[in-house]
């Protein structure tokens, strides 16, 4: 009787200990091991997040070649090359209470990179635009290129 009780409790505890951490990590910020390399080349064409206007209480976020969140264990190598093309976050205006954020080759928006970080941005004959037209009151338009940290707090 005592052995069965011990076995039962042991199984239950083992099950909880095994299952809870695994389920808890589902859909969380990613974990990347030692050494990550990201290279983006945009040439001869456009990249657009929102082609037209963005109305109230909306968020428009465009990230290219960036560490947005999560952890990178070792070296992180980011490079983005934009040649003869346009990169646009919002093609028209952003209305009140909206946020338009554009980040290119940006590190640690929310996360850690414990090793060496190499960050290189090359723009040749091309335009990078966060908001193409107007920004209304109470709106935020934040652009980050080759930066570390947030500028949209």
């Amino acid at each position: 009787m005592g052995i069965d009780l011990f076995r039962t409790l042991g199984l239950v505890i083992l099950g909880v200990l095994y299952v809870v951490p695994v389920l808890g990590t589902a859909a969380e910020a990613p974990h990347v091991g030692d050494g990550a390399s990201i290279h983006v080349t945009i040439g001869g064409s456009g990249v657009v997040n929102a082609g037209v206007g963005v109305a109230g209480y909306a968020n428009s976020k465009q990230m290219i070649g960036s560490l947005i969140s999560g952890n990178v264990g070792g070296k992180l190598n980011l490079s983005t090359e934009i040649k003869n093309s346009g990169v646009v976050n919002v093609g028209a205006s952003v209305a009140a209470s909206t946020t338009a954020t554009q980040a290119i080759d940006t590190v640690k928006l929310s996360g850690t990179a414990s090793g060496n970080v190499t960050d290189q941005v090359t723009l040749t004959g091309s335009a990078v635009t966060n908001v193409a037209v107007g920004v209304a009151a109470d709106a935020k338009a934040c652009q980050l290129i080759g930066t570390i940290g947030l500028n949209c707090d």
């Binding site: 990613p30 974990h31 990347v32 990201i38 909306a58 954020t101 947030l150």
Partner: protein
Amino acid sequence: MRYLTLMAGSLLVSATALALDAPNIGAGASLTADIGGTSQSVGGKSYAGVVNALGSVDGKSVVKQNLAHIGDASVGANAKISLSVKNAGVVNALGAFEGAAVVNQSIASVSSGSVGANLTLNTTIASSGVVNVVGAIGGDAKICQSIGSIGDNCKDNPL
């Protein structure tokens, strides 16, 4: 007591199976997407290649497009994702979206899960366009585009 033991065992097996729903990939995974072809006319405009949602939505909607993407998976070391967009376009949402909408386009990115050492993400966009939304966006919308990135920019916390 034996019944309880069996119940606990069943619980363990069931829960483990549930936890293993997310894919587990060993070392050396390689995702390659090569989008070539030529442009076509859609709605009077020239788009081609890959289109996720075409039309208008008035109510609550979620429009997600993932190309060469790792999400909620466990992947071993030396994973490589390569995306090449050549003569055709990639469009997530083509139309007007009013109301609470989430329009998320993630290309050659890792949004969640775990990846081993030496991850490589290569993205080349040549003579075509990559567009998340073409059209008007109404209130309470999230429009998120990530290309060659690590993390999920459609969550509230990062930005």
